[in-house]
């Protein structure tokens, strides 16, 4: 079961499609019937139709688009910064003894820290704006990227390096032509692990601190007892997460097409 490949359209066989989504259809129909009959309190589970209508409205008037843009911007900028530093530190500490001596214990200790717990203090240091969120996302995503890059780079086949050296590759070229391509799968895996972390940190920060974003309007729905808004935002979050995940897979596929 490649959970994530499921929504791709490469299943031409209509029977298989029916088999794989019949359970979802049943649950959605049950949801609509049960809620329309008033068997569940509206606050806990509003009818599906209401949610879809609200989702449609919020998309049309631009609320979801605007806040989704804010969230994506924060998460992605932070992620890119984390990748730059993470790849740098990871490659260095795998290839250089002094860097390895310095960074290994720091990565070891920093990795398990639940960085998300720093939300309140970042709120105090940097305010509710984008800066605080971006910095925290960058810090939170740095560790998984750094650790994966380091492990991938360290495990590059020594034979590759020796052969390249024997054929007269210079140090700089060695890094660019041999080590980075050979460790690319591990590097991209690290980024794939960091992507959900960047989204989690952004959402939690938005929920605790406000300042716009999908997390903010979702928690707003809870605070104003407007459960339809919570569900509608969740649909948007699901779509957003799906698109980002897909995009990263596509990039991985493009870059690693030679493997």
């Amino acid at each position: 079961m490649d959970v994530s490949n499921k929504l791709a359209v490469d299943r031409s066989d209509a029977i298989n499609v029916g088999k794989s989504i019949y359970s979802l259809v049943i649950v959605l129909v049950l949801w609509e019937i049960v809620t329309q009959l008033g068997m569940v309190h509206y606050y806990f589970l509003p009818p599906l139709s209401d949610i879809i209508v609200r989702f449609y409205e919020m998309t049309l008037d631009g609320t979801l688009v605007h806040h989704g843009y804010l969230t994506v911007r924060r998460a992605l900028v932070g992620l890119v910064i984390a990748c730059v530093f993470g790849i740098l530190v990871g490659v260095l500490s795998a290839r250089n003894r002094v860097a390895s001596w310095f960074w290994d214990p720091i990565i070891e200790v920093g990795y398990p820290v639940p960085v998300i717990a720093l939300v309140p203090v970042f709120l105090f240091w940097f305010g509710t704006g984008d800066l605080a969120k971006i910095i925290l996302v960058a810090i939170g995503c740095f560790w998984p990227v750094a650790i994966n890059v380091r492990n991938a780079t360290r495990d590059v086949d020594e034979n590759l390096i020796w052969s390249a050296r024997m054929m007269g590759t210079s140090d700089r070229q060695l890094l660019r032509k041999v080590i980075v391509p050979a460790s690319a799968p591990g590097i991209i895996s690290g980024i794939q692990i960091a992507l959900p972390i960047s989204l989690i940190i952004t959402f939690v920060f938005e929920m605790v601190a406000g300042g716009g974003g999908l997390g903010h309007i979702e928690i707003q729905g809870v605070r104003s007892f407007d459960s339809v808004q919570v569900y509608a935002t969740l649909i948007a979050i699901m779509i957003l997460g799906f698109i980002l995940d897909r995009a990263l897979r596509l990039i991985r596929f493009r870059i690693l097409s030679w493997t």
Binding site: A117, F124, V222
Partner: protein, 266 residues
């Protein structure tokens, strides 16, 4: 390429082994001291120490919080939430993963739901959990459960699908009834991957716990962090952060140790 080459060879010959190990240990952890020293120096010079308390003070307050027991009850609550959430996701996740791998109807039924949950960052489900369960322990457990479910399901699914067919055939040949095969053959053969899945899930569980407690809780470690920062007690806040990080660190380490002790047949 690591610092194994770095060994001080002369020392190795002249000094007794325990002392060598101690020197080696100190040498290995010097970078942390450097980092802590820089932090100590920075707080009070570049940044006011009220904003970024020095590590010595944080260490002292950590000790004080632990000694007076102020934080113990919150830590207990948080660990309880992580424990229950993890236990739930392990029991349900393994069942689901093995079931989906060995039976097509089960796979057809559940796959689409997992595919729908997969792209959602689980912290975004906290508001939904508040709607259903209110603010408190149940919400945190639900979030931990959901966050840990997928790695465990995926690992046990992949492993159960790749169980050596020869094992199953041998069991059948020796007359094992078919209902016993999943229990006696498939699950034991998948246990190593399941354990890997659990190890992946532990850090995720702590992230999920803290995010749930920051947003929706009146007790627990995440709430303590929020409360201390709201009253401006940043030293205490960092101390609680140190405690929860240590808990996460030792949870993973303890788990790995236990895994090595218990799983001897791999």
């Amino acid at each position: 390429m690591s610092y194994a080459d770095f060994r001080l060879t002369d020392l190795e010959e002249t000094l007794p082994a325990p002392f060598q190990r101690f020197v080696w240990f100190v040498f290995e952890w010097i970078p942390l001291l450097i980092a802590a020293g820089f932090w100590e120096f920075a707080s009070g010079t570049f940044v006011p120490s009220a904003i970024l308390p020095p590590p010595s003070e944080v260490a002292y307050v950590t000790w004080e919080l632990l000694a007076t027991g102020d934080v113990i009850s919150h830590l207990q609550i948080s660990l309880y939430r992580v424990g229950v959430g993890l236990a739930l996701s392990i029991s349900i996740g393994v069942l689901l993963g093995v079931g989906m791998a060995r039976s097509d109807p089960v796979e057809d039924f559940f796959e689409v739901f997992l595919a729908l949950i997969y792209p959602i960052p689980k912290a975004a489900l906290v508001p939904l959990a508040i709607l259903w369960l209110g603010v408190g322990t149940e919400t945190a457990i639900l979030i931990v459960f959901l966050a840990c479910l997928l790695p465990i399901v995926l690992n046990s699914y992949n492993a159960a699908q790749n169980v050596d067919q020869n094992l199953i055939w041998s069991a059948q040949m020796m007359g094992m009834p078919s209902w016993k095969i999943p229990l006696k053959v498939v699950i034991p053969a998948t246990i190593p991957s399941i354990l890997t899945g659990i190890r992946q899930a532990i850090p995720i569980a702590f992230i999920a716990l803290v995010s749930a407690e920051l947003i929706a809780s009146n007790e627990g470690v995440g709430f303590e962090i929020l409360r201390y920062s709201e009253v401006g007690a940043y030293t205490q806040m960092f101390a609680v952060l140190v405690i929860i990080s240590a808990a996460a660190f030792f949870a993973v380490r303890g788990y790995e140790w236990l895994e090595r002790k218990v799983v001897r047949w791999t």
